[in-house]
Amino acid sequence: MSERDDGADRTGGAQEPDDSGEPIGPFRTWRALYTAVLIWAAILIGLLYAFTVTLDHSAP
């Protein structure tokens, strides 16, 4: 995702030289990084739900 894609263009301010679409660690674009965060959130919710179901040892 370019900066224009992610809302940065709304500022009308000067572009930062290091913010021009270069890779962010292992992620090629900001869109990929943001997607990874959302997937991570979904995984966490799934894990917590699994804990809730499997670790319930209340008396039947």
């Binding site: 900066e3 992610d6 809302g7 940065a8 709304r10 500022t11 301010g13 000067a14 930062e16 290091d18 913010d19 962010i24 900001w30 990084l33 943001y34 965060v37 959302l38 991570w40 959130a41 966490l44 919710i45 917590l48 739900y49 804990f51 809730t52 670790l55 319930d56 040892h57 209340s58 008396a59 039947p60």
Partner: protein
Amino acid sequence: MTILDWGVFLVYFLGVVGFALWQSRKNVGTAGYFLANKRLPWLAIGLSVMATQASAITFIGTTGQAFDDGMEFIQTYLGLPIAMVIICILFVPFFYRGGFYTAYEYLETRFGPATRSLTAFLFLLSRGMGAGIILYAPAIVLSVILGWDEVVTIAIMAVITILYTTVGGITAVIWTDVVQMLMMFGGIAVALTALLVGLPSGVGFGDVVYIGGIQEMWTSIDLSWDPTNTYTIWSGLIGGLFLALAYFGTDQSQVQRYLTAESLKSSRLSLIFNAFLKVPMQFAILSIGVLLFVFYHFETPPVVFNAAEVRLVRESPRAEEFRRLEMEFGLAHAEREQATMALLDARHADGDLTIYQRRIASQDARLRELRVGAKDIVSDVRGSASNDVNYVFPTYLIEFFPPGLVGLMIAVIFAAAMSSLDSELTALSSATVVDFYRRWWRKDATEEQTLRMSRVATLMWGVFAFGVALYAGQLGSLIEAVNQIGSLFYGSLLGVFLLAFLVDRANEAGAFTGLVVGMTAVGLVAFFTDVSWLWYNVVGAVTVVAVGTAVSVMASRGRPLAGG
């Protein structure tokens, strides 16, 4: 505390304050004091963002809450990763590229000075009170451990934090936060390890998990649709999302952190760092509370953890009634312990566990009932609600931690408190100076005058926080108290920023009217319904955007479009 504990404690204080002041030596002028001259790396800012939110209240209050109610509190954080993405995309570019000192400065460019001043004022009001509560939490620990009056411990905490914040500014604050956050990670690991090691021989990790499960302490997700219940996945995902948007996106104590970054990319990365780590960290902190719950199956807990409250009741006319209740509590605990040991034997022998599960559950219910009864007596005697929940973890530390580690853990709790308080003070100071002093009172203030005023403002807010801290004991569970205070204003503040970012036609009349109506709506919901505080942010933000848009459209009819 032993001499070794005091040694660890003092080394922490001297080390962290010295390190902070040494780091701040490169600060230049007001930009250095409030923005660290925009030269800080993203990892340091990311840790500071995390440390600012993870206060001693988080450490003490959340563990106590998990001890009583299990992991359900984790749901309030589920919207946070999503909020971080939205803030990175929508909020950060506006703030960073505008070259602002405070978030509220941006609003003036969009809606004029009245909206900027009102939002800055609301921030000062709510976070000034919040700073007081942050200050109160570690004072509880010291008062329990040292037997000092809470007023004395509050004063000591305030003086030390104000000292290095006033002198070193944001650079001192952020680098202190880095050290303090790393200490907190260590403290969480030490506490979890100590709780597991401290169990009776033959009781393993699997047993601990199982015992917690009997009382559904690991229940982390509640799928029910009940807006009066704070701890459901929907309250967490929707209400928590709006809370996180408001806190990380519009609260100066957080915005100021990512304005110190060396680039826009660094600003964003500091938030993404939190998106990945915040929920797991909170899970670990809550787990301490659940492990404490299991630990006290094998050790007799006090019926009320606040030793000062117990002393008060023992000197009151209801002392005999309380003593009888304590005896009954001891008997019920002994029965639960016996049932627990029998369950573990049966579990290890692959026997039928149902009868033991029921016995434990029955005694648990009895113990909870007795605890509620004891707290009612306390409340009656002291004339206000018992805040026992905040004493659970500190009491465990004093009684069961080995020498040296007690000092370390107390230092960690102090670290948590100071890393939040220092951020609040520097944020309150920046909003006071930038949004009021330099905006209205002394527009022509020199650099030297502004810097001097910044230090005076830091000191002033420290004193205000001290005053609020004196009354924080009446507020019950501290973690909820801070969030509740914030929630009365947060949602509406968020609404104004969303209006600015998203609605091109929004203008000053719309924003101002929307803000007033939004706060009124939150007030009505808070006082006349049972809807959970986590939804206040949603109500406030949605109302402001809706009313603000409508009023803007009406006000701009027949006139050239404003804003955009």
